[in-house]
């Protein structure tokens, strides 16, 4: 776990004191709302539909028990006893009062957390593979790089007022669990022919109104060149990105309109200048960051076979993944109980997770962009105990990667930008497929739901994506098919006309029935069947003649 040094501590304290002063000035009327808005956004404070919402950065999704217990305390003291984990691996608390925000920030600083750059047109929290440091297929833990980028990008004077927000995602494994291709910059740690470790750098990914998969701008950037290379990309974007139209201001639009070849030329030209001027990062400094992410003191291989109870079997299938050490496992705690709100955890659940991590799992936790919490280092001999404790806390639903493990943005239940609700749709789909045996029979399937075109719910990269819209004053849901957020990333294709709120669950049921009929065998996933067959048979299931004629 990275620990703040004196600089970090003083920086965060000064920043919190500054925002406390800004809040007080706003309350006294010395700052107008227009003046205050960009200041509060830079500190993660939004005014949502029913109340304020405060977003806290969880750098590269990594937590320990102390941090998580403090988040539970904040939920109880200033929230309503729960928090919402987001698709950017942050946590949001709804309902805090404006006056209390500075105190919450101070409480966060006690455990080395903050809310800086969780909103605004700046470089946001860097997200990473939630299996980082534990995955069997990993080339290198991506988190030291993510931490380096965090330090470089925090309050970077050149990139503090970009045309729009800027998101960076990184994976250290060839299997992309971090949706890097949907980021403004996606980084994949790779080895070149000489065996050296570096980065494949992609640029211009993004979802929202104009979805794009990021394009590779350079297939190998040596480690020492990463920061000047990122500065070169940011500089090109900062100078050439559009500022006249909010909807065309992201780097993805620049890449799309300019073409990746021209962007590459511009970046490489800027890189020559940046590299010449760049003061190399002190190797001792990098080594200190890397040391902070050293693996925990793994226990030796035990002769005792792990106890696996029959009740655990389906949970083992879906919520337990292979660790790089054979006597360890990666456990995903599901924040998707059937009928629950995706990504929400109560303060009791946060404390339970903290206790389990501390007692059994080297005191490490991760938040995934899929809105679950991961215990990355669990000795297999503790799996039964961990399962029991998660089950008691309502965190052991055996549905990770299945149809009810749905990503959903807060939608119109909270969000001021939303055009329709997301959460009740996720709840209704999970309830329609509540039978876990049926879910396991359907197999791996990612449904992702957004309550507006901004696509916080990643619907474009869902195998089945659902987008909630306002059609003439009524909630209406569009379905996209065939999206993929992994290394074989793809944007889903719109299936056809949208469905009313009470029609969306039956539509999903027809789609699943069709898939079960169409698949070659149980091993062919929904996505594989879609890729083999194309959209036509799935569209036919969504829009059967009798339903269409009734609708018309």
């Amino acid at each position: 776990m990275y620990r703040y040094d004196d600089f970090d501590r003083e920086y965060v304290a000064a920043r919190n004191a500054e925002f406390r002063d800004q809040v007080e000035r706003r309350i006294r009327g010395e700052l107008t709302e227009e003046e205050f808005l960009p200041l509060r956004l830079r500190n993660g404070l939004y005014l949502q539909l029913h109340a304020y919402m405060f977003r806290i950065a969880i750098p590269y999704g990594t937590l320990n028990s102390r941090k998580l217990r403090q988040l539970a305390h904040i939920a109880d003291r200033w929230g309503k006893g729960y928090g919402h984990f987001t698709t950017r691996t942050n946590i949001q608390f709804n309902w805090p009062k404006l006056r209390d925000i500075p105190d919450i920030q101070d409480a966060l600083a006690e455990v080395e957390l903050h809310s800086i750059q969780t909103s605004g047109n700046c470089i946001r929290n860097v997200t990473a593979d939630h299996f980082a440091g534990a995955a069997a297929d990993e080339i290198e833990d991506p988190r030291p790089t993510a931490e380096l980028i965090r330090q470089w990008s925090t309050d970077h004077p050149e990139f503090n007022w970009l045309p729009r927000k800027f998101k960076i995602g990184i994976t250290g494994a060839p299997h992309d669990r971090a949706v890097t291709k949907s980021h403004d910059i996606g980084l994949m740690i790779v080895r070149n022919d000489a065996g050296e470790i570096g980065y494949e750098v992609s640029v211009g990914g993004g979802l929202g109104r104009s979805p794009f998969i990021a394009r590779v701008v350079r297939d190998f950037v040596p480690k020492a060149d990463l920061l000047p290379y990122l500065e070169a990309i940011l500089q090109v974007y900062n100078l050439a990105g559009r500022r006249d139209n909010k909807w065309k201001a992201r780097v993805k639009v620049l890449v799309h309109e300019t073409g990746i070849e021209r962007i590459r030329e511009m970046v490489e030209a800027a890189f020559i200048e940046k590299k010449a001027a760049f003061k190399p990062v002190d190797p001792g400094f990098v080594a200190a960051i890397e040391a902070a992410f050293a693996p925990p003191a793994f226990e030796p291989v035990s002769d005792v076979a792990p106890r696996i109870t029959p009740a655990m079997r389906s949970w083992m299938d879906t919520n337990v993944d292979a660790h790089k050490l054979p006597h360890y496992a990666i456990v995903t705690a599901s924040l998707k109980p059937i009928g629950g709100t995706p990504g929400d955890a109560t303060s009791e659940q946060m404390r339970a997770l903290a206790d389990i991590a501390e007692e059994f799992a080297h005191d490490e936790l991760r938040v995934s962009h899929e809105q679950n919490v991961i215990l990355p280092h669990v000795p297999r001999r503790h799996l039964a105990a961990v399962y029991e404790r998660l089950r008691e806390a309502g965190l052991a639903t055996a549905n990770v990667g299945l149809i009810s493990d749905i990503i959903a943005c807060p939608g119109m239940d909270y969000c001021a930008l939303a055009t329709a609700r997301s959460i009740p749709v996720a709840q209704a789909i999970a309830e329609a497929f509540a039978d876990l045996d049926r879910q396991h029979e359907i197999g791996p399937l990612k449904i992702k739901i957004s309550g507006c075109i901004n696509a916080c719910g990643h619907h474009h990269v869902g195998h089945i994506g659902i987008l909630g819209l306002d059609r003439a004053g009524v909630e209406n849901y569009q379905i996209t098919l065939g999206g993929d957020g992994t290394e074989t990333a793809a944007i889903g294709e719109r299936a056809g006309p949208g469905f009313a709120y009470d029609e969306i669950v039956p539509a999903i049921e027809r789609l699943i029935e069709a898939y079960l009929e169409l698949r070659q065998d149980e091993g062919e996933t929904f996505l594989a069947a879609y890729r083999r067959l194309g959209a036509a048979p799935f569209k036919a299931a969504l829009y059967p003649p009798e339903v269409t004629s009734h609708a018309a």
């Binding site: 706003r26 309350i27 009327g29 107008t32 709302e33 005014l47 949502q48 539909l49 029913h50 109340a51 304020y52 309503k80 709804n94 309902w95 009062k97 404006l98 006056r99 709100t341 119109m412 239940d413 909270y414 609700r421 959460i423 009740p424 709840q427 306002d470 004053g473 009524v474 909630e475």
Partner: protein
């Protein structure tokens, strides 16, 4: 044919709490949409908005919302977004204005 003018109210969020509030005929703010002042024509609506915006350090994000007039003669939300603003999050009925209503 031009769309008929729907009656409007002025609404925003309280600066300190963030709560949804409605501008009243008395020139104050209420948490209850039923107490909102209603403008029946565009000119009255523009004037209502102007008056409601005279509290920039108490209420923020003030705008006009369409309403329908209920049988009791009180304004009620017309669009589903405004209906949710009178209630709270539909996933947690114990939170927001709906919880206060349930307690009454």
């Amino acid at each position: 044919m031009a769309r008929a003018f729907k009656p409007r109210i002025a609404t925003g969020n309280a600066l300190l709490e963030g709560d949804v509030v409605y501008f009243t005929a008395e020139g104050g703010w209420s948490r209850d949409i039923g107490e909102a002042a209603v403008a029946a024509d565009p000119e009255t609506a523009a004037a209502l908005l102007e008056r409601a915006r005279e509290f920039p350090n108490e209420v923020v994000g003030v705008y006009l919302a369409e309403v329908r007039i209920s049988e009791s003669g009180r304004p009620a939300p017309d669009h589903f977004r405004e209906m949710f603003r009178t209630l709270g999050p539909s996933n947690y009925p114990w939170l927001g204005k709906q919880a206060e209503k349930a307690r009454v």
